[in-house]
Symmetry: C2
Subunit: 586 residues, 2 copies
């Protein structure tokens, strides 16, 4: 037996008991005649005392050779501490050591194992197993485990069945790029790793399972952006005999349960907003509604007054920044520079200070009277002391720019409180997007999304106007879940594939099994998938999903710790009937 208690367990209730503890040496304070050692494990820290007078001599000598991160086992007696540490669960006691076993020595770690460490990200990723010893990382992994258990318990309680769908499936050219897996037993053929279990969960509904969920790894071979992982985890759900409202209710329930269970926060019914309203009011389809600064369209109040910059534009749109009239000229110039950066790409930024005395000071004073500025302020619901910021240009571009500015300002002003949670449903998405580059329609969600029944008539003549029975769940400016009612009618599915540019043969080759299934009594069904990595990150009040993944990959898709991917043995490739035509590295 290695221990009678863990390092977070002992208190005065165990006074004078003989105990066995095991763990890592966190800290050593050697006063010559007395040595204090902080012994750490997952559960806490317990202070050990080696006392020259009371500890056997050879044990005391051995203690002097200990170093940080050594793994030891001790036998000792729980005694009361003279100076108690109220910040530590075990702070009332210490353990007077009688026996010491060195279980494993340690080289000096490349960074300190402490909440605040001196190791940079790359170093920490190389030694992820040491990084995980640090409380903040360890706690995030435990937090993730807690969230997934809460999800599973809630859904099981609601009669959802967890079903494992296959990982070795078939590649489909639609959507993002697949990771593929050559088949040795079927030469020249490949499996693909799933981007989501979409078609399988739909088949489970055709199969009558009624309520399905799975917490499942998915894979996308994308050019990685910051904080994107080639493998990610979804909470994947599907239900039969449901409409959009049923699904929203069910998964609002799940989200409310998580906020309650994990964060102790009670939430009322989640607000809902149409896609169109979100775009017009926040400039994007995943608005952060923890704060205001909603978009106000100023065309009527700002155009035709002789300011050419505004007059020629499709959209003039502003936000009222609370309490920001006190910004210095230099600060405002900073924001003007910020929106002009190539990543944002605005031509300029108009400001109107709503002064405390009721007057207005603006960068376009020359063109607009105090009365007109007052009209703007009123329309934008700006109070005295607020700052109006106004962009103009092509509508979509301008909204995107102002949305970026709004978010950046909010961060700057401390309005994005990670302990406040503002969920929001976005509904009424367009079914299709026209892609200029490929000159064809793309499915905004995916090709299995059902059009709104009342829009079916538009499908032939005006596909762009068709709304989908699709919905996203947004939390604090992040899409945490998205789903739709699916098509369950074979003819409609075929029509959609046609609209999306699939030939009949392609549709049959890729999704023949699904369309075939729809001919044997497919029930109405729909579902949702949550991005677990993002969800736990936001619930954890953080921003970097990598922190909530035990062994994440870097931005080049590499695991730097195990050094993967790596070249194969030539025989392995040969067995797979493959030849590498990679160009040699320069």
């Amino acid at each position: 037996m290695y221990r009678t208690h863990n390092c977070g367990a002992l208190s005065l209730s165990e006074l004078n008991q003989s105990v066995l503890l095991s763990g890592w040496v966190q800290k050593i304070r050697n006063k010559g005649f007395i040595i204090w050692v902080d012994l750490r494990d997952r559960y806490g820290i317990t202070q050990l005392v080696f006392d020259a007078e009371r500890t056997p001599e050879e044990v005391f000598t051995a203690a002097q050779a200990l170093g940080r991160e050594f793994v030891i086992q001790i036998k000792g007696t729980v005694i009361e501490r003279e100076s108690k540490n109220p910040n530590r669960a075990t702070g009332e006691i210490e353990v007077l050591v009688e026996d010491l076993t060195l279980l494993n020595a340690s080289k000096t770690p490349p960074f300190t194992i402490a909440d605040e460490t001196d190791g940079g990200e790359e170093l920490r990723m190389n030694y992820r197993y040491l990084d995980i010893r640090r409380d903040p990382v360890k706690e995030k992994l435990i937090f993730r485990s807690k969230v997934t258990m809460a999800v599973r318990n809630y859904l099981s309680e609601a009669q959802f069945i967890e079903v494992e769908t296959p990982y070795l499936i078939k590649s489909t050219p639609e959507g993002a790029r697949d990771f593929v897996v050559p088949s040795r037993m079927n030469e020249g053929q490949f499996y693909a790793l799933p981007q989501s279990p979409q078609t399988f969960k739909q088949l489970l509904m055709v199969g009558g399972l009624d309520k399905y969920f799975q917490i499942v790894k998915c894979f996308r071979d994308e050019d990685l952006r910051a904080d994107r992982q080639p493998e990610f985890t979804q909470i994947d759900c599907e239900m039969a005999f449901v409409n959009q409202e049923d699904i929203i209710q069910q998964f609002e329930g799940l989200t409310r349960h998580l906020l309650k269970e994990i964060k102790g926060i009670e939430t009322g019914p989640f607000p809902r907003m149409s896609y169109e309203e979100a775009i017009k009011t926040y400039g994007n389809d995943k608005p952060d509604i923890r704060f205001g600064m909603t978009f106000k369209e100023l065309n009527a109040l700002a155009q035709g007054k002789g300011f050419g910059v505004f007059d020629s534009q499709e959209l003039v749109v502003g936000i009222a920044v609370p309490g920001a009239a006190k910004m210095s000229r230099k600060e405002i110039d900073g924001w003007i520079d910020w929106v002009k950066r190539p990543q944002i790409g605005a031509k300029g930024l108009v400001y109107v200070k709503c002064n405390a005395d009721g007057s207005y000071k603006s960068s376009v004073d020359k063109f607009f009277s105090q009365e007109i500025l007052a009209d703007w302020a009123r329309f934008c619901e700006a109070e005295r002391g607020d700052l109006l910021l106004i962009l103009s240009g092509e509508a979509t571009t301008t909204r995107t720019q102002l949305s970026a500015l709004r978010m950046e300002l909010a961060s700057h002003l401390g309005l994005r409180n990670p302990e406040v949670f503002a969920p929001l449903w976005i509904t009424d998405f367009p079914l299709l997007e026209w892609d200029e580059e490929t000159q064809r329609y793309h499915a905004m969600h995916h090709p299995f999304t059902a059009p709104k029944p009342e829009d079916l008539v538009l499908l032939k003549e005006n596909p762009s106007a068709v709304k989908a029975n699709a919905y996203d769940l947004v939390l604090n400016g992040n899409e945490i879940g998205g789903g739709s009612i699916r098509i369950h009618d074979q003819a409609l599915q075929a029509q959609l594939f046609d609209l999306l540019g699939f030939s009949k043969e392609e549709a049959e080759a890729q999704f023949g099994f699904l369309m075939n299934a729809f001919q044997y009594g497919a029930p109405p069904h729909g579902g949702i998938a949550f991005g677990l990595d993002r969800l736990v990150t936001i619930l954890g009040g953080e921003e970097t999903i990598r922190d909530f993944i035990a062994f994440p990959k870097n931005n080049a898709g590499r695991d730097v710790m195990i050094d993967a991917p790596a070249p194969l043995h030539p025989e392995q490739l040969e067995e797979l009937a493959l030849k590498s035509i990679a160009k040699p590295k320069p």
Copy 2:
């Protein structure tokens, strides 16, 4: 809203209520003036009545057009049935239909959706989504979900953290063949899919997580045998600061919990048996101990009596088959033929009938007196009425043959009751196996398994004699779990790699990260992994793991429903810097 109740919910408590139901048409009985329809969903079957006198005419007409597996929604009133069906939860009522909506029609299914179906396995796999509608398949998937929840709840309760380890890792030549995944972003390099999260879970222990579990897909590119899947699911567990006894206690607890929770069976402490004893007593290391017929070595009693066949052999070994003395000569000949089949490969089979009158009748009467046969019977613990069956030959081969015979006889005699559960720990495995073909040692479990400390001295001079701190959990003749205490010392791990024929460079390239980790305070640790597919199959009282997998692959590793694997678009291969050198199919 599609339904107020599901098809398993209604009883007399809802008498006269107006209800909405949705589901599949299971059965139609049309009596001309009255039509009964069995409406089915996941939860049950409810009888609908369309009555020419009481149902609106257009609804009655529509009902006449219904077919099997049509998906419908009805509105109706719960009424009491005249002839109640006590075998059905809803058997006291029926629903008099007022309104009918056809949600989806169905072609005639290729096989009947019923407990006993007329569809062969291949047909059912092609239409797996219809197969899943059948109660026996659906119930197996629900059963699996229930088992995994029970596992998760038990382990969470015991402070295990579920951590997701990566799926895109690095290929290692040790063990079975990896499935590999070409990396587009790192040309010429490949990820591998994990055969198990072994090294990652060990790193989590180095990282101080203390107790880890994961229910996780694993992958092995093996030449498939019957009932092997290229992707399979493990309950993967690891603990730090534990010895073998700690792990056995913990996971005996889990297994006992499952037997109680899932099967309602209370079990005492599980018996344990050394590997050596299992081989000697049952001829294999996963004995089915639900029945006797243990091996008795007869060398001393049967050799040197003038029967040449026995005299020249390494081992003469017999079993007493209970009550089988009544077998006819023809039946016994059948068993002799059975052991002579090439799959078994025995040269012959000696029998001794222990007659009811105390006499013996044997195929070797000529060579052995009644007294000697009586000695054998006594030694084999055979009663009057039993049948002794005896094989002889090289020890290992003969034990394997007799083990196969014992299992086949037990099946034949109905001794393998699927509702009796006999768990058993096998311990004290050899650490290494000598492989004649490659002329080197292989790890019997895997290269990370710790030798028994007391055997460390043998590691250099007599590696074959070293026992491992490894253990398997056997249930009803199947290995359902296996694990070991791991090496946590860098030098010992290096020594093992050396013994296993790794060069220093190979060991470093493959497992450098692990050996590096061992230098920074790796704690003693160990774990276990359960094969979930096999576990649920046995708990479910069945034998075919495929039945407990929603979308299994066939013996050629193909998913016949989605037709995977499949050729890639040539551009996809090109992007991966790969060229197929598959020979064209003849």
